[in-house]
């Protein structure tokens, strides 16, 4: 009895799921709201553009990792409803990445194409970050029910791109570090390695059962 009551429910009643989705939506929006407030109250410090750029990038990467954590969490807990949060998390991650890129394009480069292209061509961390963004674009575009239906099996193949995108995102962080302050990017790399490692380990046959995978079909 005791053990059973601790178990995460496989399904949630629609109203509970809706409430949960509203809460998660609010939580994802909160960093943007706080940044907006700080922007107008001077809370971003004396170099607000720098703070904004860093914070938006951080949140893009964080939410991308949260999105990637959904599937392993589902495997571990059996909570099938988690998948209903994934698209929203992924789209929020993409939104923060877009805002991050927008600050870069508008305030770092005053919308001048020549400077942006020069940066992409000559600064590896910008090339890597920009590539991560490009990989995320088709995923955001095809995130709708309509595209899922239209693409069928290929939808999943296409959305495999989230892995290289996340790896490039973490690499982008590593490459821009000044003064060897590796701690923060190392934390992100560790989380990403755990999430990807778990998937790889699960694909290796003998481990399937011990890692809580559902029984094989065939």
């Amino acid at each position: 009895m005791g053990a059973a009551s601790l178990r995460v429910p496989t399904q949630l009643p629609p109203r509970v799921l809706l409430a949960l989705r509203i809460v998660v939506f609010g939580l994802c929006l909160a960093p943007a709201g706080l940044l907006l407030r700080d922007l107008f109250t001077g809370g971003l410090g004396v170099n607000p553009v720098e703070t904004l750029l860093r914070e938006l990038g951080d949140w893009g990467l964080r939410l991308l990792l949260v999105t990637l954590a959904i599937t392993p969490l589902r495997w571990l807990t059996g909570a099938a409803w988690l998948i209903r949060l994934r698209r929203m998390l992924g789209l929020f991650a993409f939104s923060y990445v877009v805002l991050h890129l927008s600050v870069f394009v508008v305030f770092e480069h005053s919308l001048r194409l020549a400077g942006i292209l020069d940066d992409i061509a000559n600064r590896p961390y910008i090339l890597v970050g920009f590539s991560a963004f490009l990989l995320l674009v088709p995923l955001a575009v095809t995130s709708t029910q309509g595209w899922m239906r239209r693409l069928g099996r290929r939808w999943k193949q296409l959305h495999w791109l989230v892995y290289p995108a996340a790896i490039l995102g973490v690499a982008h962080f590593f490459l821009l570090i000044k003064a060897n302050r590796w701690t923060e990017p190392l934390i992100y790399a560790g989380i990403l390695a755990t999430l990807l490692g778990y998937r790889l380990a699960r694909r290796a046959g003998p481990l399937r059962r011990s890692l809580g995978a559902p029984a094989l079909r065939s």
């Binding site: 410090g45 005053s110 821009l176 302050r181």
Partner: protein
Amino acid sequence: MLIRIPRSWEVKPSEITPESVYRDRRRFLRTSALAAAGSLVAPGFVTAKPMDALEPLGELPDSRFSTDEPANDYDEITSYNNFYEYGTGKSDPMARAPELLQHRPWTVEVTGEAENTGTYDFDDFLRGLTVEERIYRLRCVEAWSMVVPWAGVPLASVLERARPTSRAKYVKFYTLLDPEQMPAQSSSGFSFLASIDWPYTEGLRMDEAMNPLTILATGLYGKEMPSQNGAPIRLVVPWKYGFKSIKSVVRIHLQETEPETTWNLIAPEEYGFYANVNPNVDHPRWSQARERRIGEFFKRDTLMFNGYGEQVADLYAGMDLEKHY
């Protein structure tokens, strides 16, 4: 339109002491009373300087080298600093330096290739020199910039007094080494700060050091130097990236060979010995063509030698500045 003619007995708005000045006066009285009490109790006491204890330097002569660009706010200049002795974050120096850095006693050693070497108490070091205001642009290698109203003395006047020998080709500067006052100097383990060979050092070629733009600054905005900006005395070389302008100087050493300098030792391919502001030579990870003036959202073009080419371009005639970055 209402035209109001003030009566002769009315106090003109310009005659009313602004509240900040009035409060400053009270603070000044309070701190000087405290200082007086302190000197009775413990002669030769050491003092850290919280921000509100910084004393005015009095009337400072202007300089023809000052820019007429609007200066950044005092808050901006004192809250956004690179001073790794207190941590790598921009607000670490503001948070930690004022309570830790002891402004007095402070000694400056002059050593090496000079006839008049010696160790000076801070006040003796400045004796006979006129502190003047120098409003300079400051360009950080990280592509941001400020305008700072420094107070200081020409480095040349200090060096002339030392009477350099003919072998004095370079000047090396040392920051204080004292982990009690500069906690990051005792960083250990797998951290970037632990990998730095403290104390922080910087260097100039003799002609750069003698250039009239180069100053030893002892204050800003007409007051004593705040701890986080490199109190009580620091170098300011306005045509070079900010990291050349070493803070909290305790030793000035004249020598024949090009000195080793901290950032050049950490990453020689990123930070050269010369480190002249140059929009045409990029840092490996970012362009130096533009900069963000603190207080502005959009970037502006960076000027060659930070706009001081007229005074310093000759120093580098015939040099390949791509090579000597």
